[in-house]
Amino acid sequence: MSLDPTITQPAPVLHPEVIGDRFEGAKDAEGRPLVHAEGTSKPIRARTPHEPQPRGARDRGNRPVDQIEAAERFIAATEHEKAHDERLWDMRLRRDKAAHALPEWEDMRALASQIKEHALANLDTYLGQFEAAAKANGVVVHWAADAAEHNRIVHQLLKDRGAKSLIKSKSMLTDECGFRAYMAGVGIEVIETDLGERIQQLDHEEPAHVIGPAIHKTREDVAEVFARTLGSDPTDTDIPHLASVQREATRPLILKADAGMTGCNFAVAETGTVVVCTNEGNADLSANTPPLHIASIGIEKIIPRFEHLAVFLRLLARNAIGTPMTQYTSHFRAPRAGAELHYVIVDNGRSERLGLKEFWTSLKCIRCGACMNTCPVYRRSGGLSYGATYSGPIGIILDPTLNRRKYSSLPFSSTLNGSCTNVCPVKINIHEQIFAWRKVMSEEHRLPFVKSEMMKVLGYVLARPALYRAALGAADEALRLLPHFVLANSLNTWTNKGRDMPEAPTQTFHGWWREHRGQTRKSP
């Protein structure tokens, strides 16, 4: 069987046992399977009998998240873990194919990085320009210092208009702000219109992945959620049917909603335009159907001009899912005739992060999710194991700026293999920042905890060398970065802080592993 008509050689498979025997999704006119949106290039199917979905990290209040405990439960759910690993790896391979098809790819990454660094270094100027342009276009602009202020502003806008229901497209920022929980508390119905985000909302879970919120769930999990919340048949696990159940249930809510909300992928300073990318067209429905559109915008989303937007858009979907564009790229510049458009510009810790010498470039992130797809820890532990809005490699460097104590353990959930850095479309040195966060945690006297976390991470990832090798084996880029991996896993880092980086070793990972495994196991 030719799995993907455009791939001449079959895509490498990590777990043959979760490869299905047929494509169930959309096909082209000649009957060949289509591979776009978040679709897979090979059919991936967790086997029955139904395995209950492993849940995310347990809520420990403000105490450090125990990511490893949740990861162990995810790994124990072998069907979920394998399907998840396979699917994310498939996205990574699709990304590689799209990237390699553009000769200018590396130039584009460098440009994107430079544009973002310039915009961040001059952010106050560009924010002012963006605001002035938006106001001139008839947009009402609000500023929110933190999550609570964001939620209050939106609530006030809705209250003043007597709005009782709000349809929205997916926004990591509103997840970060705890927006749905807040609105539930004040009696306003929030309806997520992205299929994956809606599944997560109905199941009272956070998104597990920035572009695939329900990527950790099997069809049986979704059928169970819809049966419980939408009254569908729990035994009907046909995926087109499940998608249709959601479409039919959500559409009346879209038509009667009092207000609409979107996030913002890019904010163009010169014109005051908000740009939103979706595959479902749900941002366009949310913004264009009700009489009020509110866009929540993180301050770091600013780019100077449209010519820069072209650079980012040519990178974003290719790097996220391997397609030249998302299905919809929407530009909101001014309110529709007879309607209102409001921007809520949100800081929530970003301006403080801007002042952190080692960490400010994390603000360049355009939320493509590629670092998650390539990360061996993420792929095998699931996004919800991180117990935070942002998971995976980018998450573990963003989260500590939101709550230093709660997320102090997350920088240890990495092998520091550097693959995240290599796939980042805006060249964030993710693995170096992960390492730098570990140093911060040790300098802040979180050392006893940190060391025990370190040991758990090592034990958990490295005790499964066959799987780890399988994952890395297909990633040439990651293999090239093995010196970083070795450096990162040197326990001496903490006992001898002034130590310089060792020379890059010539031995292979496996050679290193054979030498060090005993030491790893007997360490405290």
Binding site: R87, D124, E280, I299, E307, F332, R333
Partner: protein
């Protein structure tokens, strides 16, 4: 609004030191578009789940719709080439288009690189037309296909339109087990008919 001043002051105070110059953006050529853009466009569109037809293949766009979307009861057309079952004067609010089976719209331009078509509120008349309808049929002037996204963004509509949107194939999701579904929330199909 003190929040605004506080945020801008913090941003100013914490801005990274150093010279981060804005780079010049070179123009990147899209391979294959020197000879003809239509072929690149149609291939990209079909890979994104869209259909591509030429007006020369059909007696009229309406005849094509009747033949290929046989159950369509309400056709709502925003173009003079196709008669509209829905009187535009009767459309008072965005929700009034919820029962439309087929929407017909002309694109501002097409992008060969990605198979995208561009609309603004001027082409859509009511923006929800392109999302609440079950199917979308797009008329595209062959001469309005630009090579790449960089070229598209030089179009003046991005400075004048309230709303501008690229559609690249139909509404799609693969949020459940990576199985690709068309018609996640918006249109179930998108067909571009090239003319001119």
């Amino acid at each position: 609004m003190s929040g605004r001043e506080d945020i801008l002051a913090r941003v100013h105070r914490n801005r990274p030191a150093g010279d981060y110059a804005l780079p010049l953006i070179p123009h990147f050529d899209i391979p294959g578009t020197e000879q003809g853009r239509l072929e690149t466009f149609s291939r990209a569109l079909e890979a994104m789940g869209g259909r591509f037809r030429r007006s020369s293949e059909m007696s009229s766009p309406l005849a094509w719709i009747r033949e290929n979307i046989p159950n369509a009861r309400i056709i709502c057309s925003a173009v003079p080439e196709v008669p509209s079952d829905r009187e535009w004067s009767a459309v008072r609010k965005p929700q009034d288009l919820a029962d439309v089976d087929v929407a017909v719209v002309r694109a501002v331009l097409g992008v060969a690189e990605s198979g995208s078509v561009l609309f603004t509120e001027a082409e859509l008349k009511v923006n929800t037309l392109a999302y609440l309808a079950q199917h979308l049929v797009v008329l595209l002037d062959e001469g309005a296909i630009v090579p790449g996204l960089q070229d598209a963004y030089t179009h003046p509509v991005f400075r004048s339109a309230r709303y501008a949107v690229f559609h690249t194939g139909p509404s799609a999701t693969a949020d459940i087990e990576g199985v690709l579904i068309h018609g996640a929330q918006g249109v179930r199909s998108l067909t571009v008919i090239a003319d001119g």
